[in-house]
Each structure stands twice: as C-alpha cells, then as structure tokens.
C-alpha cells in the first residue's frame, strides 16, 4: 500500500474523536460565549423580552461608578496580591530549599492551604477578622487589631489580600522551589569562592536563572487574581457598601439577581478583552524568553 492510502485509511477514527469533541466544545463553550457577545448588545433581564440597544451598554459602562470602582478595586487587589504572593513565595522557596531541619514537615505545612476550598477558608477568615482578632486586640489593648478590618470601607481590601496571600503562596512557592533546583550548585560555589556574598549570589546568578519562572508566576498570579470571586462572597459580599466588589462578583450578582443580564454581559466582554490582552502579553514575553534563552 502506498503512504497516502495508509494515512487516509487510519484517519477515520481520529475524526470520530475530534469532531464530537469540537461539537461539544462549541455547544458548551463557544456558543455561550457568542451568546454573551450577543446579549451585551441588548437590554435583556435574563428572561422575557428584550430590545437591541447596540453599543449603549458599553457607553453606560464607562460612566457607571460601581463598574469603574470594581475594576479599580480588582486591579488594585490583583497588583498588590501578585507582588505580595510572589515576593513571599520566593523567600519561602529560598528558605525551604536551604539547609534547614524539619524540611519535610515545613514543606507539608506551607503547601497545605492549596488543597483547601477557597470559599470555606474565607468563611473561617471572616470569623478570624470579625471576632477572633478583635478579641486579641481588645485583650492586649492593641488599637489596630480591635476592630473588624473587613468592616472598614477603606481597609477591607487588605483583609482580602491577606486571605489570598495565605492561600496563594502555596503553589507559587512550590513552583519557585522547582525553579531554584535548576540552578547549578557549582555556579553558586564558584561565586562564593570568588568572594560574592549572599545578596550578590542571589541577584546575579539565582534570580537571573529563575527569571522565566518569575515571569510565568507573576503573569499567572495576576490573571488569576483578576478573577477573584470566592473570597469576596465569603469575606465581604462586596461590602462594606460597594467597596470590595470584584469584576466577576459584580457580573455574577448584578447579572443574575439584579436583572442586568445584557448590561453585565457587556461588562463581561470588556473583562474578556482585558484578560485576553494580558494573555497575549504573557505569550509574547514567553516567546521572547525562549528565543533569547
């Protein structure tokens, strides 16, 4: 048999696999996404009749204070959390790969938060912030601890960052640990012999070599934190007032329960554009690294 007929003969089962997969994917992923675009051009309430309003939703979005605030809050939260998580994780990774005792135990503990459901952890944290910590603050007379940080319009976001960092460090730390293990011992030893101290060794050698891990981690963290939802539901419900409404929380709450189906769909489209743009940036950066590496 010729090469061509051999290939043709074996192609059929592949199509039997690929086509149903594509159809299902279209039906449950692409089609709803397209519907999302469609509804963003309407004033649909999620049920009943609706009218086309063209780009009116989009125009309204840009002058809606609660929408703008949600983007401001989400970005502020994501930037701070990304920096905090990555800096802390890198430090933890350095510590956990160093010559310490109880290494197994410590690694187990620091990774534990990753397997717990975010929303349940957030419920526990809610109690810690509202009751447990203030009790300590009042008993010891520390003013700062005595009130519920989640009850403050200006500081609640910090409470959310703390909970996120508590859980977010786990996976990031483990990834940095993998990265650190790719740094050849000999390089560090040679540098020590040449008289470099800890700091110098870290910045000139270690950090340079794990740079790709840092890039990936930072972008993944940032994208992930922009999608924050579970913590908001359990810690503040978007409050106090509207000060901690994340983008996805607003889309969920107003889209489903406030009848703003069409309007929030437009919000979701903007959100999608932001995330997609970030992902493209991520790809570009990774490609550049691959080329230069």
């Amino acid at each position: 048999m010729t090469r061509k007929s051999f290939m043709k003969r074996t192609a059929a089962p592949f199509y039997w696999i690929a086509i149903p997969a594509a159809i299902l994917f279209f039906a449950f992923h692409t089609f709803p996404a397209l519907q999302g675009f469609f509804y963003s051009l309407t004033n649909s309430r999620g049920y009943g009749t609706f009218d086309f309003v063209g780009l009116q939703n989009y125009i309204d979005l840009f002058s809606d204070p609660s929408i703008l605030n949600s983007y401001a809050f989400t970005f502020k939260f994501a930037i701070v959390s990304t920096i905090a998580v990555n800096a802390l994780s890198l430090l933890l990774a350095l510590g956990l790969t160093a010559n310490i005792r109880l290494r197994g135990f410590l690694r187990s503990v620091y990774f534990l938060p990753a397997v717990l459901a975010v929303v349940v952890v957030s419920f526990v944290a809610n109690f810690v912030f509202s009751t447990a910590l203030p009790a300590v603050g009042q008993a010891t007379g520390v003013e700062a601890l005595s009130t519920n940080i989640l009850g403050s319009q200006s500081l609640a976001w910090i409470g959310i960052v703390l909970v996120t960092v508590w859980q977010g460090c786990a996976v990031t730390t483990v990834i940095y640990m993998s990265g650190l293990q790719t740094v050849p011992e000999e390089l560090l030893e040679a540098a020590t012999i040449d008289g470099a101290n800890g700091w110098q060794r870290f910045w000139s050698i270690t950090f340079r070599l794990i740079a790709p891990f840092v890039t990936v981690n930072v972008i993944l963290s940032f994208k992930g934190f922009l999608m924050i939802f579970d913590q908001i539901i359990a810690l503040t419900g978007g409050g106090p007032g509207t000060s901690t409404q994340s983008i996805s929380f607003l889309i969920y709450r107003n889209g489903f329960t406030a009848g703003e189906f069409g309007y929030q769909s437009a919000n979701a489209v903007i959100y999608f554009i932001v995330i997609a743009a970030l992902s493209l940036v991520q790809l570009r950066l990774l490609r550049q690294r691959e080329v230069s590496a």
Partner: protein, 281 residues
C-alpha cells in the same frame, strides 16, 4: 582540595535560624486550622470566655449536629460523584482528543482545533457564565450531570495543551509497529499509548480532582436544586441558618475541609508533584 573541605563543612551545618523563622511562619498556616477545630467543638457560651484556648469540654456532638443540619452525607456524595465522574471522563476523553490532535498536527484542520481548544484558556468564565446557565437550564442540565459535562468539556483547553506536549516525547515508531501487527487506531491507543501516558494522566487526574472538589462558582450558578449542592456550596447556602452560631458553622466547615485534609496527609507527594507538573506546563 581546600575547596572540597570548605563546601563539605558548609553543607553539614544546618541553618537553625532559618528553620526557626520558617517554623514561626508555619504558625500563620496552622493557627487558623487550630481555630477551626477548637471552635467547632465548643458551645456559644464558651466562646465568650474562651475563644482561643482548647475546649474545656470537647463537644463532639457539634459535628453530629452539623452533619444532620447541612445534610453532610448528601453533600459529600454530591461532591464525590461530580469529582470522580469528572476525573474519570476527563482523563479518558481529554487524552484521546489530545492524541488525535497530536498525531495530526500536520493537517490544517487539526492544527486549527488545537488553537481553538487552547484559546479557551484566555476566556474567563464570567463571559460564558450568564448564557451558559440559561442554556443548561433549557437542556435540563442544571444538575450534577450538567456540571460534569461542563467540567469535562472546559478541561479540554488545558489538557489538550498538556497531552500534546507530552505526546511529542512518545516516538511514532511504537504506533507504526502496532499497525504493522494489525492493530487499528483504537487498539493502538488503549493498548500502547494510554499506558505510556500514565504520568500525565496522573497529573491531570490530581489537578482535575482538586479543582473540581473545591470549585464553588460552577456549582453556584449551574445547580438549581439544593439537594444536589456540593460541599463548598452547602457552606454558603447555610450561612443564614448558621447566623452567629459559629460553633455549628465551624463544625460544618471542619467536615467540609476534612476529606481533602485527610487525602493530603496520605497522598502529599502525589498532590504536590501533580500540581508542579501541571503548573510548569
């Protein structure tokens, strides 16, 4: 020669300061867990006088109360059903699709499929969420089965990337040898390829299990009947019933966290390994 001795000495001296610092830091992780356990086993009265200490009387019956109030067995069964079914179907189907694409990348249609599936990684759930819920409801899939379908299909985005990557390391000679022996595509796949994919299958299984078990937003929007609620969703649904009865609430939270905690204690290596593999891809 001097170099050898120097590094050998450095290696042998453990860093006690760092160990102590890390141990102190680990308290930040352990204390909330400690609080969860002790609060779950106290009474509301005791909370006022002894919030941080060990319970004077260990009220194990709080756990029983939580079990009956929140219908814990049903929620546990729901979570288990969704997770197990999703993991099994995902590993079986996603690997197959990954294989089909990996072995046909030279064809334009399959290459398009690859980018089509993977591009979904860029699409955040909220934009699909609102219309998807309507659609699931119309299709009578606003239940655990619908949840499984959604998960298995959405998992294609990441897993196709994972599987095609790994399949590049499997030489085509193995399949060609199987074909010469008369095996068709299906037989070749299940007898030859799938066993070789076990490392990736393990990674996918662990990542899927963890993600599915702990997912909240999916069940929140898709499930309409509260008897089908999964463990995380149940904690949310009962907030008003818990109101300020922290002991009951925490008993429930403890029960909700317990399965994963136990599995983690037993299968730590696997879980951490799986997550690292997945993230590095």
């Amino acid at each position: 020669m001097t170099t050898f001795t120097t590094t050998a000495t450095i290696r042998r001296r453990s860093n006690w300061l760092l160990t102590a610092l890390l141990l102190a830091g680990s308290f930040v992780i352990l204390v909330p867990l400690y609080l969860t356990i002790v609060t779950a086993l106290k009474t509301p009265a005791e909370m006022r006088t002894n919030l941080w200490g060990l319970p004077t009387v260990w009220h194990w019956e709080n756990l029983a109360t939580a079990v009956s109030v929140t219908d814990f067995p049903r929620a546990l069964a729901n979570s288990a059903f969704v997770t197990i079914l999703t993991v099994v179907l995902t590993v079986l189907s996603n690997s197959l699709v990954g294989y089909a694409i990996a072995r046909n990348m030279h064809k334009r249609s399959f290459k398009f499929l690859f980018f089509y599936f993977v591009s979904a990684l860029f699409i955040p759930f909220p934009i699909i969420m609102l219309p998807l819920v309507k659609q699931m409801s119309i299709l009578h899939l606003d239940n655990l089965i619908g949840l499984v379908v959604m998960y298995v299909v959405f998992n294609l985005a990441f897993n196709v990337l994972l599987y095609t990557g790994y399949l590049q390391t499997i030489p085509k000679e193995l399949e060609e040898a199987a074909k010469i022996d008369g095996a068709g595509v299906w037989t070749t796949y299940w007898r030859v390829i799938f066993p070789l994919l076990m490392p990736v299958n393990a990674t996918v299984a662990i990542l899927t299990a963890l993600g599915t078990w702990n997912d909240f937003l999916g069940p929140l929007v898709i499930l309409s009947d509260d008897s089908s609620y999964t463990l995380p969703l149940v904690q949310y649904a009962f907030q008003s019933q818990f109101s300020t009865n922290y002991n009951l609430a925490f008993a429930s939270y403890l029960l909700a966290l317990a399965p994963m905690l136990i599995i983690y204690l037993i299968a730590q290596r696997w879980i951490v390994g799986g997550i690292v593999q997945g993230a590095l891809k």
